[in-house]
Amino acid sequence: MDILQQEEGDVLVLSPGGRLDGTTAPEFETVLLGRIGEGRTRAVIDFGRLDYISSAGLRVLLMAAKRMRQTDGRLVLCAVKAHILEVFEISGFLSIFTVETNRDAAVAAAAA
């Protein structure tokens, strides 16, 4: 899958494109958990280019959140499309994750 990686100050911004499902989640897991494993404690996942997510994708987000918690890190999500936001809602993810409307707000929240 195509995953853009950018640095905004101390904050790592990952932007996965297309579909985050059982076929693409392993690659996203390798990248995201790999970067956290390198010691990143401030990260944003920008969902602006993502059209679809299944439980396989949510599983990776939850694993990342658990890891970040162990290191007192911050993981913030942003620019989530309405139908994906609904999936977050029925998964109870809105009480686990901070979700901002756009990248600037997310980077600010992660850096704080």
């Binding site: 299944s54 658990k66 918690r69 686990i96």
Partner: protein, 140 residues
Amino acid sequence: MTAELSITLRNDLSEIPRVTEAVEGFGEAHAVGEKVIFAMTLALDEVLTNVITYAFPKDDPGPRAIHVDVSLTNGVVRAMVRDDGRAFDPLTEVPPPDLDASIDDRAIGGLGVHFLRTLMDGCSYSRRGDRNELEFFKNL
């Protein structure tokens, strides 16, 4: 008026995008709204992922055939998934996730069946002979 789509796939996760694309195309061709298409696609994705991952013995993985039938009749989109794996009723055998658990306590997994229950207007399982049949529907 009834419209129907039938797909047979191998028990390999890489087959799923072919199914979801076909269902998206079917929905668009019959003016099914985006919301319903997305819910149906996600439910099918989750069901097929479970069947492919858990239904067949690891030491005898096949290839095995899984059958998907999708229909649109009188404002109802219906899907039926049939496989000849071990008997398994996800609707009774998968416990619902604890949505209020903290990050630390939150279990990783179990969301797929939760999506099926939550996003569909109805679902049912039956074992017929050596086959699992899982049917689910959503009203337009």
